[in-house]
Symmetry: C2
Subunit: 369 residues, 2 copies
């Protein structure tokens, strides 16, 4: 199945940047958190080469925020995740697996701590908001849990720092990875974090108020003209090369954080209060039965991976591929999949059932970049 | 903005019928509950005329089910909705507004009662599943709340009854509106309800198990060849003519059921246990300040309504249009919008700010069909 048309209605929410994205010639979208997320401007490959050389502005408004405010904010945050949040300080970003009572992954967001009584959770594609609201209501927590009018704009690519310094000042260069600081734009304060869904470096601006969207977009485009800045979006090739997981593609509620290779973010013994703690203590004792791996698939460019492809060794099913795409830089098909414990070691040769036939593939311990 | 391309990935889930839908020549999709929902086969207008004359098979798998099972199932159901569920009997479908603690609409699903300990909630586009799970966890209810492998297939149009009788037997003719019965298909039991997202009459089959999807599709297509059966989908024109609301388009969490014209489904005084009861008792006392209305908009075919259009009287903002489309049968633009109390009476003349200019419009008490 290649790209069909997308019927747009109000239900697929526009973002503060949609008009600019349209003017920039967006060719395709996906839908993410009930919102339009651009996927292609020139072509996935052209966008990829540009991202690795220059700087792009990404409308990632669809990374909606759950704002948790109030005296019990920190308590609710700890209920949601097996990561120990006690040492988290204001200005830090934490990657926090969010789990249900069975330890199943509900989401894999980045959380921002503003102070003891205010957090953002920048969520992947589902309404984890309702889970947080249901827990808050059920436990009568003193918190307000809502989706604010905050829309992240990502600046990604090797020239991102130069571009950001021109618009927000030299001090943005000092922001460390997974830290954020507050900056003013047109008199409005907004968080800027050193983060983003690529391995090319960059920032995410938590644009606080729809009305600031277009002025900020325009300011960045103008300031970056000689840096070859252009509109971009999370790139299907680069993110698989980088081993960046995509919730809903590479994992869902069936998987534990340990299966997703996120065991290092689970301090489950210390995460007292986490609703999935009992289940995850069990998982931590036994270890996961399968885990996410990067995989290279032999042969020419694979077809579009729109569904799970099963993986085999000697005719036995041993896993599944969930994302796969041709990498021009590595000259192989890069992929992400869930592989059974006995076959997940680096270099294991497996077979993958692609829509155009069985192919040889190799399990990789590390991502490509 | 006219239809761009949709980039498909595993995250936008295929359905048990996607292969058949593709073979039937689907032209466009939307994304609904993280799943592909067809929107156009021949053209929206051609599909509309066909739906009103013949019979169509709709892949509405995206109406995902929340299955609530266990001793506290009825208790949890009543916590979710202000509709009094005490008189609901097995085999009944109820339209149940689902509200949060402030009485805001979280969803407007149809619920099916199998017995005291088993319900389905056939949800509109959001993860109300997590709200139900959060409440169940918070209140330590003895229930299992999950999304089963059940995918509704709708049979809609004036010849739906004839087609269904051929495949499931004459007794389907006796199923009353918003009732369901269990039928066997290839040895598998599944609920069949007299319901659906059109006013042309028809059924929804709750296909229980992905593996039954294609055989059932094929059986219906074969049995209906001389009835001019074909693949269809919820139709953007027919549903607006019929005044069928679309969650996310015509309403969201900001609205109360009363604003959505669903006051008749709120027995709030009797709905003891509903989490939104206190807030809705207040609303019921004061009445809504604005309400959903059907609206006809003068002039030629309106542009695609992808965002809210504001409505005015004498230059004062008095509401908003959320869905609008040209109706070939009524030879006017039919629309749905939220109109302030002072202006919602039948026949009130208003002005609507469409992308191609201000137009005269008329508020209608009733839907067009």
């Amino acid at each position: 199945m290649n790209a069909p048309l997308l019927s747009i209605s109000r239900r697929l929410r526009h973002t503060p940047f949609t008009r600019r994205v349209t003017e920039a010639g967006v060719k395709a979208y996906t839908v993410y958190n009930h919102m339009l997320l651009p996927t292609v401007f020139k072509s996935v490959e052209a966008d990829y080469h540009h991202l690795k050389k220059h700087v792009q502005i990404w409308d990632v408004s669809c990374e909606r925020q759950i704002e948790i405010k109030g005296p019990d904010a920190a308590k609710l945050m700890q209920m949601l995740t097996p990561r120990d949040l006690r040492a988290m300080t204001p200005g830090q970003c934490y990657y926090v697996p969010i789990v249900d009572a069975t330890g199943g992954m509900l989401n894999d967001p980045v959380a921002l701590k503003f102070d003891e009584e205010k957090f953002y959770i920048s969520i992947a594609d589902n309404d984890t908001l309702y889970w947080a609201q249901g827990i808050a209501y059920g436990f009568r927590l003193d918190v307000d849990v809502n989706e604010p009018d905050v829309s992240p704009l990502a600046i990604q690519g090797p020239k991102a720092e130069d571009l950001m310094a021109r618009v927000f000042g030299e001090s943005v260069r000092d922001i460390k990875f997974f830290k954020f600081r507050m900056y003013d734009f047109l008199g409005q304060s907004m968080a800027i974090a050193r983060s983003g869904y690529s391995k090319q470096g960059g920032y995410e601006i938590y644009v606080d108020g729809t009305e600031y969207g277009e002025p900020l977009w325009d300011a960045l485009m103008e300031a970056g003209a000689d840096l070859n800045v252009r509109a971009g979006c999370p790139n299907a090739i680069e993110r698989v090369e980088a081993g960046l997981l995509s919730y809903g593609n590479d994992m869902n509620w069936r998987n534990t954080p340990h299966e997703c290779g996120l065991g290092r973010f689970c301090d489950t013994i210390l995460a007292i209060g986490c609703v999935g703690r009992d289940a995850l203590l069990r998982v931590a004792m036994e270890g996961p039965m399968r885990q996410i791996r990067s995989i290279s698939i032999d042969g020419d460019k694979v077809p579009l991976c729109t569904n799970m492809w099963l993986a085999f060794v000697d005719g036995k099913e041993i896993g599944e591929i969930t994302s796969a795409v041709w990498s021009p830089d590595f000259e192989t098909n890069v992929a992400i999949g869930m592989i059974d414990r006995e076959y997940w070691d680096d270099g294991t040769i497996i077979e993958v059932q692609t829509p155009d036939g069985m192919r040889k593939a190799t399990v990789c311990e590390k991502s490509f970049i």
